[in-house]
């Protein structure tokens, strides 16, 4: 099967940063190194053949026991070309930082905060990286696979 336009252009432009691509069930996917993520996102947004102007979703998947352990997953949509792509950036447990893409799509602001909240991935350059769904004082990152399902958290707030 032919690689789609997006994946072909990406591989041409960033031959060193692309670890692999696939097209499972028709979803274009590129697995990339995290160092170049901001440049890749800028390219995807601004190249006239791509124009991925929507950042639809950003999340993290924890592959416990694998190295690199985490994947930051971006789902992009191009309104002018009516196309979708998924970018997966590999983040090892030893270095949990990745560049923020808030300067590329402002929508990334809350999505990155949520990813930080749930998985502890640090987005370098994010203007306001703090917990969003959970509260300050929550211990750990609950969507990691090694976070116990029924773990109790210390009580917060005024003591009755």
């Amino acid at each position: 099967m032919d690689a789609s336009v997006t994946l072909k252009k990406l591989t041409e432009k960033f031959p060193d940063a692309i670890v692999g691509t696939h097209n499972y069930r028709g979803d274009d996917t590129a697995i990339v190194k995290k160092e170049k993520i901001r440049d890749i996102c800028l390219f995807l947004r601004d190249d006239p053949d791509l124009l991925y102007n929507f950042m639809m979703d950003l999340t993290v998947v924890d592959y416990l026991g694998r190295d690199p352990r985490f994947e930051v997953v971006y789902h992009l949509y191009s309104l002018p070309h009516n196309r979708r792509v998924r970018i997966k950036a590999l983040v090892p447990e030893s270095d949990l930082t990745i560049d923020s893409v808030v300067s590329v799509w402002v929508a990334a602001d809350w999505f990155e905060r949520e990813a930080y909240d749930m998985y502890g991935v640090v987005f370098a350059g994010h203007p306001n990286l703090r917990r969003i769904l959970l509260y300050e004082g929550f211990e750990g990152h609950p969507l990691r696979k090694d976070y116990p399902l029924k773990k109790r958290q210390p009580l917060i707030g005024p003591v009755n």
Partner: protein, 396 residues
């Protein structure tokens, strides 16, 4: 004037709205920094309804996730059901029968009706239009009666199954739809007369919460709020799923993206949803509603009690869950508020390895500070109404 104000000692005041406040019909907290009545800065705090949806899904079988999806956007649960089922079916690589697709379209559009009716009703209520609220809640009750006759529940419907549906249409459903839509259209005209040209309503919503198309796209707006800015993006048209490509409907758009346009877009979409339901009912073929794959969709009880192979499949799907091949998919449907996406990762076991929901109102709520900065404190109310933040979906 300037001489006087120079001497006036003014300082910013921080006002706390919520998390339990009459106008924040979703548990959310606003911290507004005010200069007089003008909003200088707004901090939105969400998470009060966080229940760990993803963690629960990762510890349930694929079928057990469906009731959880009811509780995402609890005003349009059938769309969430359908979106999740479609995503799992994409992961499995299966296609459902024709009749099932039509039934899902009908279910989705009834849900969208209830979503938009609730939103417009609540927006009217919070701006003092109590009559409009009562009219549209009556219309919503009628739509919920339809949904109840379809699946036995009004809010937590749990109707769609992976590879099919819980049941077929009840008897005389078309007749009921005709009756209900006649009433809804009558109420729609009443509300239209009450609100659309109402001076008080227009003064509160027109020009408030406006945003340009480029900025809305950058903020990740989808759904009625994006269409109000003049961008005709609708997942049902852009990437049709089910049988939306066979339906004749229009995608209404606005011009300025202000709250009045969002209201108008929603009012028109109510009409379009009713059109789609009528067309789907007219075109719907007879036939099965479930795929005939016993390892995905349970067989009828008579077969399970009489055939050993059906019994084994039943046991395995209930105890171990259905097992999609390892892989990942993203599937988007048009929810009540915009693009509702499901990103599923399977490791080949009976439980999702990852079950991510892309909630449309999450991106919309994130833009609240941008929409109200520089406006008056009272403008938070209509702007937040038209965002239609649903706590269950935003906080998961």
């Amino acid at each position: 004037m300037s001489e006087i104000s120079k001497d006036l000692h003014t300082e910013h005041m921080v006002i706390n709205m919520g998390p339990s406040h009459p106008v924040t019909h979703g548990t959310v907290k606003f911290l507004a920094t005010l200069d007089g009545e003008t909003i200088v800065d707004l901090d939105v705090e969400i998470g009060y309804l966080h229940r760990g949806f993803e963690k629960m899904c990762e510890n349930s079988t694929w079928q057990q996730v469906i009731p959880y999806t009811d509780r995402l956007n609890y005003v349009s649960p059938l769309i969430n059901n359908t979106g999740y089922a479609l995503a799992v079916e994409k992961l499995l690589g299966i296609d459902v029968p024709e009749r099932c697709k039509y039934l899902r379209v009908i279910a989705c559009e009834l849900s969208r009706l209830s979503d938009h009716l609730t939103n417009v009703a609540a927006a009217g209520l919070e701006l003092g239009a109590f009559t409009a609220f009562l009219y549209f809640v009556e219309a919503r009750e009628l739509v919920w009666d339809l949904i109840e006759s379809l699946c036995g529940a009004r809010v937590t419907v749990n109707y769609v199954r992976i590879g099919g549906l819980k049941n077929d249409l009840p008897e005389r459903f078309e007749e009921k739809v005709r009756h209900v839509f006649k009433e809804v259209r009558r109420l729609w005209v009443d509300v239209d007369k009450l609100l659309t040209k109402n001076r008080i309503f227009i003064d509160r919503v027109r020009g408030v919460g406006a945003i340009s198309a480029e900025e809305a796209i950058a903020y990740g707006f989808t759904g009625p709020c994006l269409r109000a800015c003049g961008v005709p993006y609708d997942v049902r048209k852009a990437q049709p799923y089910l049988v939306y490509d066979r339906m004749d409907f229009e995608v209404p758009i606005g011009e300025t993206g202000d709250n009045y346009d969002k209201y108008l877009v929603r009012m028109e979409e109510i009409q379009q949803s009713m059109r789609i339901v009528e067309q789907a009912l007219a075109q719907m073929p007879d036939g099965p509603i479930n795929v005939r794959l016993p390892q995905v969709r349970m067989e009828p009880k008579e077969k399970i009690y009489s055939r050993i192979d059906s019994l084994i499949y039943h046991f395995k799907t209930v105890v171990e869950g259905i097992k999609p091949p390892p892989g990942e998919v993203y599937l988007a449907v048009e929810g009540g508020n915009g693009e509702l996406g499901f990103y599923l990762v399977s490791d080949g076991s009976g439980k999702p390895y990852k079950c991510r929901v892309r909630p449309p109102c999450f991106a919309l709520t994130a833009a609240m500070p941008r929409l109200v900065k520089g406006r008056l404190l009272a403008d938070i109310v209509p702007t937040f109404d038209m965002i239609n933040m649903i706590g269950g979906e935003c906080d998961r």
